[in-house]
């Protein structure tokens, strides 16, 4: 059976005032039914653009899909009409956004916003949809869901709003749930609750989950497989244990080294020096070369772009992956 989602050689550009930025440059990956995949990387690495492209939510212009393919349940999403895509969005593939404070319509009751998601994809009455919305709010752990459904977003805390967003996303039993930094805007204590809720949601719906985050703690907690993105490319891909135990790309190694640890006595953090390359004029070779600890002056790194290849069960885009640790 083919995977639930197959993204192949996806390239996306943004027109900006300073020129054309290549936000995604040949991104390929698959998501199997029911699995949890994390996409990690720093700001601007292309995580969110990947998610938005998959669901057809990119604003075009300024964005432009240069090439590639997105197959979901054996249908090519990039070639679907707006209306066909709309029937999939919110039904088979749903999304939870980063900032729950602004992601809900401030002048509409929360229950109505959830009921709208239901009524868009199934022929039920207003009352039935509302009853289901109340059930969903109960399912995501909200006390007094009936009362809550009649309230407006400003009467909810951040964590409660994210619960409501998740209720909305799972309303139609999606096969794919994309969560874009779902915990970033929340307090640490609330983060844990939302993560466990995402796990519950997954159990309820059996949806494959794509979790976009820059928080490696979240990755370790949730994911089965990890994609590491850098400057619009996937630089490493592996199952979560093996990635944390023995990274095969110097960027991943740098990310892991920069996590503060309680078990090692150290006064300072270990950052990756430098900053990501400009997407307007990417360097010809490996985009990570200027910051790479492994490069040590090798000419290949700045002349030739490394392709993803398999090393020790990882996919890695590094000429010298065998030397990485």
């Amino acid at each position: 059976m083919s995977p639930l989602l197959t993204v192949e050689d996806l390239a996306v550009e943004f027109r900006t005032e300073d020129g054309v930025a290549r936000a995604l440059d040949g991104v390929s990956f698959t998501v199997e039914a029911g699995e949890t995949v994390a996409i990690v990387g720093e700001s601007g690495s292309g995580k969110s653009v990947t998610a938005l492209t998959v669901l057809g939510l990119l604003r075009r212009p300024p964005a432009r899909i240069v090439r590639g393919s997105v197959r979901f349940r054996d249908r090519e999403l990039l070639r679907l009409s707006r209306d066909e895509l709309r029937k999939i969005r919110g039904k088979d593939a749903a999304m939870v956004f980063q900032d729950p404070m602004t992601a809900l319509n401030p002048v509409q009751r929360v229950g109505k916003q959830i009921a709208e998601a239901i009524r868009l994809h199934s022929a039920v009455s207003r009352q039935q949809a509302m009853a289901r919305a109340v059930d969903l709010l109960g399912l995501v752990g909200m006390a007094q869901p009936g009362t809550r459904a009649r309230q407006y977003p400003h009467e909810f805390s951040g964590g409660m709003r994210q619960r409501a967003m998740i209720a909305m996303a799972i309303a139609n039993d999606p096969a794919l749930l994309i969560a874009d930094e779902p915990t970033t805007a929340l307090d640490v204590t609330i983060q844990a609750q939302v993560l466990s809720l995402l796990r519950t949601a997954k159990q309820e719906t059996g949806a494959a989950t794509v979790l976009i985050t820059h928080d490696l703690g979240v990755v370790a907690e949730m994911a089965e497989r990890v994609l590491v993105m850098y400057a619009g490319r996937i630089v490493e891909q592996a199952d979560v244990r093996s990635l944390f135990a023995s990274p095969r790309h110097p960027y991943t190694a740098g990310l892991l080294a920069s996590i503060p640890r309680l078990d090692v006595e150290s006064q300072t953090l270990t950052p990756i020096p430098g900053s990501p390359p400009s997407l307007l004029a990417p360097p010809p070779g490996c985009p990570f070369a200027p910051r790479c600890a492994l490069r040590q002056g090798r000419a290949e790194c700045v002349s030739e772009r490394p392709a993803l290849r398999e090393v020790d069960g990882h996919a890695t885009a590094c000429h010298f992956a065998e030397l990485a640790e």
């Binding site: 939510l57 707006r82 709309r86 919110g90 602004t102 809900l104 319509n105 002048v107 868009l120 407006y152």
Partner: protein, 319 residues
Amino acid sequence: MGAYLVRRVLVSVLVLVLVSIGIFWLFRLAPGDPVEMMLPPQNRGPGSEAFIAAKRAELGLDEPVWVQYFTWLGNAVTGDLGYSLDTGRSVSDLLGERVGPTVYLMGLSLLLALVIAVPLGLLAAVRKGRFADYAASVVSLGAVCTPPFFLGILGIYVFSLKLGLLPSAGMSTPGQYSVGDSLSHLLMPLVILAFSQSGQFTRYVRSSVIAELHADYVRTAEAKGVSATGVVTRHVLRNALIPVITIVALSLPNVLAGAVVIETVFAWPGMGQLAIASFQGRDYPVIIGFALFFSIMVLLSNLIADLLYTLVDPRVSLR
């Protein structure tokens, strides 16, 4: 809410007192007084001076301004706004018979302006940077830039004089009261006044909708599978109209000022005509009555705007 209303009314009364002091004092700084206006210099002979002095004393104009003011205020709180120096009629009667036509014309034109501006602004926003947007811009900027009196004169020339389709003056033809007749008198002043206002409103609706289209909740709605039309009608429009309420309330003095001009052009028997006549004749009691009416309209429209806010935006509550 009750306490809020009481507080607002008290503040409004204070504002009205301040407005009346300002107007009272300012108009007495202006050269000329009503008695001199009644008796132009070329008509004066011996004894005129004595007549003017007697008339001034009779009207109380020889007293210090603050004494005159408190006399007026004392009468005003009992509901007596004084008598016109020109016609001798009671100011409240004069205003009373003129309020109706003005409020009628203003209210309808405000409504029509919104009926034009909301769809036009929405269309321009949704089609931003395309033909419909530029077309809407041309129309709305034209509306902002063209003075209503010019359109009034143009309208009279074309539709009354050349085509003979519409009457050029008044609210109705004397002796012939019918709905059709009233409507034909109303049409030109109404459309011109509404068109002038709609330009500004269109621009505000457009920018407000454009701002809302970039809000996060729009993307949430799209992710749910809401259609482009549904996003605009079910989510964006209500959010976008919240700031427009304020703009409409703030524009009320403009509408009133526009109405004064249009009333003069079309001989509409409203406040505008009365105001201009009383300014020219230094008819102090009528001027103050008019200023108070103007102030009450502005205060009232602001109060209505605030109340509308609580209806439209659940985040706002009045305390």
